[in-house]
């Protein structure tokens, strides 16, 4: 077990190099750079800047170095957790990301937890009544949900419940109300929750759909196993058979697929944050893409990829931990 985990962690290193190198080359090979954009030399129309100052900037950020040398520099600095500073406002990238991270994590995290809480009962209900009207209805609704683009759903929800022509129950944009700084902590929390309801709902329903499909298949498989028949044969009440014997075994694959949901959730959060004007990582990403803020783009992309990579690893290890039958020795 320990050897397996150590081997897996060592294998992360080349993948990490690949991720960072790919992102770096992508940014470097693209035409134009931040100094040009900021200096008004491009079509971005920034402040006018003399050629001299622009040259200095290019030198300062290493934009004149060959890509591989600049990449080696970046890796060297990153090892000491220094991701450089933003070209636009000279703040440290780590600081900029740290400011935005909590919101995105709370958004994606609550969506993940919520979708599990709803999806597993749905999947079990469908599996227990296989082929019946309940199963068909759940499967169909879940399928439709799965096909609705999250941004279209977000627009409809805003239209219906957030100050459109219909109900005006929830705030439309932002993470806090304008007067948030003067609120008491409890009022602030309530205000924040109200602002997060719609974004979380939009992010939840899509992953809910795929998790409940997994849950259904996994439960069906567990119900077909010999030990379930044995449990029934020895006269256990159906409730115990389902919850103690079948469900526990069905949960193993369901829990480990959180790793597969995570990248989709991060990608989805980018869109949802942009629709609801939430000051999270997604918004930071768009701002830095607009200004070609290389260090920030690099930081966010690499961070997202690392989170994904670690969650894959966690899922694999968890899989072994929760199911003693599987062994990688």
């Amino acid at each position: 077990m320990t050897t397996y985990i150590i081997r897996r962690i060592l294998l992360l290193v080349p993948t990490l190099f690949g991720i960072t190198l790919l992102t770096f080359l992508l940014i470097r090979l693209s035409p134009g750079n931040a100094a040009l954009l900021k200096g008004g030399g491009g079509e971005g129309g920034g402040r006018a800047m003399t050629a001299e100052v622009r040259e200095q900037m290019i030198k300062l950020y290493g934009l004149d170095k060959p890509p591989l040398v600049a990449y080696a520099d970046w890796v060297g600095r990153s090892l000491s957790l220094d991701l450089g500073e933003s070209i636009v406002d000279h703040q440290a990238v780590t600081k900029k990301i740290a400011e935005r991270l909590p919101l995105t994590i709370s958004l994606a995290g609550s969506a993940l937890v919520l979708s599990y809480l709803i999806a597993i009962p749905l999947g079990i209900a469908a599996a227990l009544r296989r082929g019946k009207i309940v199963d068909r209805t759940i499967s169909f609704v879940v399928f439709v949900l799965y096909s609705i683009p999250s941004f279209a759903a977000a627009l409809f929800l805003i239209l219906l419940v957030a100050g459109g022509d219909y109900l005006n129950l929830l705030p439309m944009y932002g993470a806090d109300s304008l007067n948030a700084p003067e609120m008491s902590p409890l009022a602030w929390l309530w205000d924040r929750i109200l602002h997060m309801i719609l974004p979380v709902v939009c992010l939840t329903y899509a992953s809910l759909a795929s998790i409940s499909r997994y849950a259904r298949v996994s439960m069906l498989e567990a119900l077909g196993q010999d030990f379930v028949r044995t449990a029934r044969a020895k006269g256990l009440p159906e409730r115990l058979v389902i919850f103690r014997h079948a469900l526990r075994n069905a949960l193993i694959p369901i829990i480990t697929i959180f790793a597969l949901e995570l990248p989709a959730l991060i990608g989805g959060a980018v869109i949802i944050e942009s629709i609801f004007s939430l000051p999270g990582m997604g918004q930071l990403m768009f701002q830095s893409l607009d200004s070609k803020d290389e260090p920030v783009i690099m930081g966010i992309t690499v961070l997202a990829a690392i989170v994904t990579l670690l969650s894959y690893l966690a899922a694999d290890i968890l899989y072994v931990v929760v199911d003693p039958r599987i062994s990688y020795e």
């Binding site: 080349p14 993948t15 992508l26 399928f143 096909s147 279209a152 980018v270 990403m285 997202a304 994904t308």
Partner: protein
């Protein structure tokens, strides 16, 4: 029919036939396929359904068909390729009899169409026959062009504008019909690129194994670590390629081949250890022949399933990109772009969000139904229904 004849018939049934029979038995899948085909036909006929040019006009002492000279290259492309696909489908049995000749003929026709279209200039003809007097004119069902502004902006759905108009008075119904072309072609071509890259890399990795396999597998692992939309956003925005349809297709295609490559690699690993490719090799078949004639046809079912779901996700990605302002943008009609317009006026203009949202939902759902149906047909053991 006696039992022997019956079993004989089943025995003779080809793999493709069996898949088709299972597929057709599934009502959702069957209707999903119908909707997808209808969408392609609508996209091809869009200029005849929604146009400010008359189909037939009698006036000034002449009989003219103003619609034809007004067609742009991309409209011709759809108008010619969709029937071409239909012809290939109808002649599929002849096609398989002489594959070499048929393929060269097909490629010849495509090259001919593309060269002719490249030689014609962009038309960009803003005339509108709606208000031009004539003794007789036959207008399309929706007499507005997708990029044409009219004085009545933000008009809600009415008989005059079936799906309403946007901020500059463009007819949403016309934009929706023409926007189908953007979504369908980007979905289809992006997935074709992914198919080409994924099948080639996955196939070679699974067939030759060794270092190439290790390299490809590592690369797939790296690509899979990027959240789906993130890499595409970085690539598109950094190369300033918003609004360039071919670049968007390429980026979506080049970032979504990993699932297919994994699948093909696995299938090839499994298949190449079976006796039949070994027999083919023993008979002196080249690697290329073993891969193309023996392994690939046997892996085709799962590939097709994955590609169908892939088209759905490519359409979703395209509309997300347009929605975020990174994809196709106005005046080019695209569903995602109408939705992104809707975002600004969501307080009152519900029709801007409703119709394109519904169109995207129906398209993606149909493709997903086709994919589900195909999956059940390819491997009935997996059937969940």
């Amino acid at each position: 029919m006696n039992a022997v004849a019956g079993s004989n018939e089943i025995y003779q049934e080809s793999y493709a036939h069996r898949i088709w029979r299972h597929f057709e038995a599934d009502a959702f899948a069957r209707n999903g396929l119908r909707v997808v085909m209808a969408l392609f036909i609508i996209a091809a006929l869009a200029p005849f359904l929604a146009n400010s040019h008359a189909i037939l006009r009698i006036g000034d002492g002449r009989v003219t068909f103003p619609i034809f000279p007004s067609l742009e290259a991309i409209e011709w492309r759809f108008l010619l390729y969709v029937p071409l696909a239909g012809i290939v489908y109808l002649l599929r049995s002849r096609f398989s009899q002489r594959p070499g000749l048929s393929f060269s003929l097909l490629i010849g026709v495509i090259v001919l169409i593309e060269i002719t279209l490249a030689l014609t200039h962009p038309v960009n003809d803003p005339t509108n026959d709606r208000d031009r007097p004539a003794s007789f004119k036959l207008m399309p069902f929706i007499p507005y062009s997708p990029i044409e502004s009219t004085p009545d902006s933000f008009s809600p759905p009415s008989w005059k504008h079936l799906c309403g108009t946007d901020s500059t008075g463009r007819d949403i119904a016309a934009r929706m019909l023409h926007g189908a072309r953007t979504s369908l072609s980007i979905g289809f071509i992006a997935q074709s690129i992914a198919l080409l890259v994924g099948v080639t890399l996955g196939g070679l990795a699974g067939y030759y194994r060794g270092w190439f396999d290790i390299g490809v597998s590592r690369f797939i692992e790296i690509m899979d670590c990027f959240p789906p939309l993130l890499l595409i956003l970085v690539a598109i925005s950094l190369f300033d390629s918003q609004n360039n349809m071919f670049y968007i297709m390429a980026v979506i295609g080049l970032t979504s081949w990993t699932g297919l490559a994994r699948l093909v690699r696995g299938e090839f690993l499994r298949l190449s250890s079976q006796p039949f490719p070994q027999a083919a090799r023993a008979l002196g078949a080249s690697d290329f022949r073993v891969i193309v004639r023996h392994l690939l046809p046997n892996a085709l079912g799962p590939i097709l399933v994955s590609a169908t779901f892939g088209v759905a996700s490519a359409i979703l990605i395209e509309s997300s990109l347009s929605f975020l302002g990174f994809g196709m943008q106005a005046p080019t009609p695209s569903w995602g772009d109408i939705l992104s317009d809707a975002r600004r006026y969501i307080d009152f203009a519900w029709w801007l969000a409703f119709f394109p949202g519904l169109a995207i939902l129906i398209t993606i759902m149909s493709y997903n139904f086709v994919g589900e149906g195909l999956r059940d047909a390819v491997d009935p053991r997996l059937k969940v229904k």
